[in-house]
Structures are given as structure tokens and as C-alpha cells.
């Protein structure tokens, strides 16, 4: 059975992660990790409940969200509708009170519905490592995953989020309304100049091994007026670009169809 370690500072936690490597697992809200069967011997659980990472700080033009902030607190503290919608559709109220923003970003498919919203919002992730602090865009973090496992990034300490300058939509396709794993999850944000889309961030989970942006869909709407034809083109481009998996929740065929349908609906909400 692994040993529970509860470091008292971020530096100490970063050192423990560096020292124990793959033998250590970070324990935040516990809603994913506590479901696992522990290995019979060895290993470490590194609790991050004593690091002061459970606060949201409003700063000029945005928010610094501690990695151990619960989904419920995030919903109260950061008034971005798409993000609030995402938090309501992860687990039930008890899970939302326990699960953390940081933990959700490491959740394995078919869980982890916060990621598309943060991808669409252009979040930056800040990590503490034994060599100091590093910052990377959230899409770079997911690009570093291999075989379903996250890269060795050190300890995720906070998420930097700028107030969105455009509109953002979030939609989850699932078998029931609440407390359910996702078939696919879609978030989209667009910037417009006049009626023309100048920039777009369209993000998916359930479409690839990790949450990703969908460049094909973004290209299909940039320069358009987000008319029906452009939305249909984006939906179709999405279906052509995704490589979803089959699991107990849905088949790859159904996921592929739903990515297109839900990208279309998300964009229609922004039109």
C-alpha cells in the first residue's frame, strides 16, 4: 500500500515529485485517484491539501486559479458562463465540492470535461519543478501526453486565465444530464470583427486520446461570418479530423458523429 505524504510547501512537494517520479501520484480531491485499487506495496500519494493552492485570485484582466481549487469554488469565483457550465456537468454536487481544477486536467478519458473549456479560453498552466517554475499553454501540456499518461511536468500549481474577449460556448454530449461521463465534450470561443470571425479556438475531449484543439474546425470558421455554411463546414471538418475511441460509454462511430453535431451546435450558439 502506498504511503501518504503531506508536504507543507510547494518546494517540498516539487522535490518529492522529482525524487519519486513514477512511484508517486498526486492526491488532490481524490475523486479519480481514490477510485483506484492501490498497489499492494510501495509507492507514494502526495497530498496537496496543505500548499495553499485552494484559492482563486482575481488579477488585472483575469484570474489565477489554484490547482487545488474545487469545481464548486471555481464556479463561484470565476464568472465565465462556459466554465461554469463545465463545472456543473462533472459528477454531482459532492464530486464538485471535492474534485479540483488541477486534478480534472489529469483525469483519464472519458472523464476530464474541464479541459475543453480551458483550451477554448486559452489557459496557461504553471508548474513547480525542482528547478523552478515553468509556464506552458494548456494545449502544449496535452500535446506532451503519451500512451494516455501525462508528461513529467512537476506539480501543477495554478491555472492562469484571462477574461475572454469573445464569446465562448460549452456543450457536453452524455447519456444523461448530470453526473455522467462524457461521450464528447466541445468548447468553442470566437473573436469577431464586425460580423467576421478573426480568431477561433475550438476544443474537444473524447475525440482523440487527449483533449485537443481542432485546427480543421477553426480554419473552417475563421474569415467566415459564422453562417450556416461555415458552421456545417466546421462540423464536417471536425468529423474528418477526429480519432475517437470506443469504450463502455460510446463507440468510435458515435463519438465521431457527435463531435460534428456538437461543434455545429456550439458554433450556432455563437453565431
Amino acid at each position: 500500500m502506498p504511503e501518504l505524504l503531506r508536504p507543507g510547501s510547494i518546494d517540498e512537494a516539487a522535490d518529492l515529485i522529482a525524487r519519486h517520479g513514477a512511484a508517486a501520484a498526486v492526491l488532490a480531491g481524490g475523486t479519480s485517484l481514490m477510485r483506484e485499487t492501490y498497489p499492494s506495496d510501495g509507492g507514494y500519494l502526495i497530498g496537496v491539501d496543505r500548499l495553499g493552492l485552494d484559492r482563486v485570485v482575481a488579477r488585472d484582466g483575469g484570474w489565477s486559479v489554484g490547482a487545488a481549487v474545487s469545481l464548486s469554488v471555481l464556479r463561484e469565483a470565476v464568472p465565465i458562463a462556459a466554465l461554469q457550465a463545465a463545472t456543473r456537468e462533472i459528477g454531482g454536487p459532492a464530486v464538485q465540492n471535492m474534485a479540483t481544477v488541477g486534478g480534472n486536467l489529469f483525469a483519464r478519458a472519458p472523464f476530464g470535461d474541464l479541459a475543453p473549456a480551458l483550451l477554448a479560453l486559452g489557459a496557461q498552466l504553471v508548474f513547480a519543478t525542482a528547478d523552478g517554475e515553468t509556464t506552458q499553454p494548456i494545449e502544449d501540456f496535452y500535446a506532451g501526453w503519451a500512451d494516455g499518461a501525462p508528461p513529467s511536468t512537476g506539480l501543477l500549481t495554478r491555472i492562469e486565465l484571462d477574461a475572454p474577449s469573445g464569446d465562448c460556448a460549452y456543450l457536453k454530449c452524455a447519456r444523461r444530464r448530470y453526473s455522467t461521463p462524457s461521450v464528447v465534450t466541445v468548447a468553442a470561443s470566437v473573436q469577431k470583427d464586425g460580423g467576421t470571425v478573426t480568431d477561433a479556438r475550438i476544443a474537444l475531449s473524447g475525440a482523440h486520446a487527449q483533449p485537443t484543439r481542432c485546427a480543421a474546425a477553426e480554419q473552417a470558421v475563421i474569415g467566415s461570418s459564422l453562417d450556416e455554411a461555415a458552421i456545417a463546414a466546421a462540423a464536417s471538418a471536425t468529423e474528418g479530423a477526429v480519432e475517437p475511441r470506443t469504450d463502455a460509454v460510446a463507440s468510435d462511430w458515435y463519438r465521431r458523429r457527435m463531435t460534428g453535431v456538437f461543434v455545429g451546435r456550439a458554433l450556432a450558439a455563437l453565431a
Partner: protein, 163 residues
């Protein structure tokens, strides 16, 4: 790894318990303190039958390490009846036949209490969302939702708290 002595504040009492490494709050509440209303339907946070309040907030005792609870005040269903009097929320469950096998009931009542403490006059949709982490397999959810609606109405009529 050795057993550990921890202190917990449960239902208004200070409890000292010896726990095994990585014991969950559910293990301690059920096996050490014999607070049997805390049920163990899945051990994965999927069913809500182990729901308790931690500092007034709905949490899942099966996913909580006991030693991380610290000074927080834990409330189980038994904690609502310290004076033996039944509370309006429980009465509403009885009057609406909102339990059949009863295994989900404690978790349902705790989820409903957490909801009503925060939002004393919830809409039907808000009740459904508030109970969405709790599963029932017998009666269906409709009588349970009706019970919470009735409790909310009763509370607004009397100005009492849920429990």
C-alpha cells in the same frame, strides 16, 4: 506502515480513533464509530450512498482519506436526530414514500439537506441537479424529488431550518 491515532469531530462529538493507513472516512464512520447510515454502494464516488457533510458541504466519505479531514466538522444522517426528534426533511421522505429498500435514503437526505441549507427554495430542476450524484434503483426519483419539494415548502411555511 503503522496504525495511526486521529481525532475527528463527528455529529458534535470529538472522537479519537485508531485507523489503518489510507483508511477512508467511510471506513472510520462505519467500522469504528458504527454510524451505519453511511452506506457503501460502490466505493467509487458513483452512487452517493456514503454522502456526508464536511463543514456543511456535501462530500463523499468513500473518496475521503480520514486523516485529511482534520478539524472539519463531519455530519452523518444520525447527526440530524441527536434529540431523537425527526426533522421535516425526513418527515417529507416518509410522507412521500420516497424510499423502498432504503439503501440510498441516507445519502439522498444528506444531499437534500446540503441543497436546502444553501438554497431554501429550490426549483424542481435545482432539486434534480442537487440530487444528481445520488442513485436510487427502487422507487425511482420522482417521489424523492417530491419529498424535497414538500420539505422546502414546509420550511418556508414555518421558517425553520431543514434539520
Amino acid at each position: 506502515m503503522e496504525d495511526k491515532l486521529i481525532r475527528l469531530a463527528v455529529n458534535g462529538r470529538d472522537e479519537a480513533v485508531v485507523i489503518q493507513p489510507l483508511a477512508t472516512l467511510q471506513d472510520v464512520l462505519r467500522d469504528k464509530l458504527e454510524l451505519n447510515a453511511v452506506k457503501s454502494g460502490c466505493g467509487q464516488g458513483g452512487c452517493g450512498s456514503c454522502s456526508v457533510l464536511v463543514d456543511g458541504e456535501l462530500q463523499l466519505s468513500c473518496l475521503t482519506l480520514a486523516e485529511r479531514v482534520g478539524d472539519a466538522e463531519v455530519t452523518t444522517l444520525e447527526g440530524l436526530n441527536e434529540t431523537n426528534a425527526i426533522v421535516p426533511l425526513q418527515q417529507a421522505f416518509i410522507e412521500n414514500y420516497a424510499a423502498q429498500c432504503g439503501y440510498c435514503t441516507a445519502g439522498m437526505v444528506m444531499a437534500a439537506k446540503a441543497l436546502l441549507d444553501r438554497n431554501p427554495a429550490p426549483s424542481r430542476d435545482e432539486i434534480v441537479e442537487g440530487l444528481s450524484g445520488n442513485l436510487c434503483r427502487c422507487t425511482g426519483f420522482a417521489p424523492i424529488v417530491r419529498a424535497v419539494q414538500q420539505a422546502a415548502q414546509a420550511l418556508s411555511d414555518t421558517g425553520e431550518e431543514a434539520s
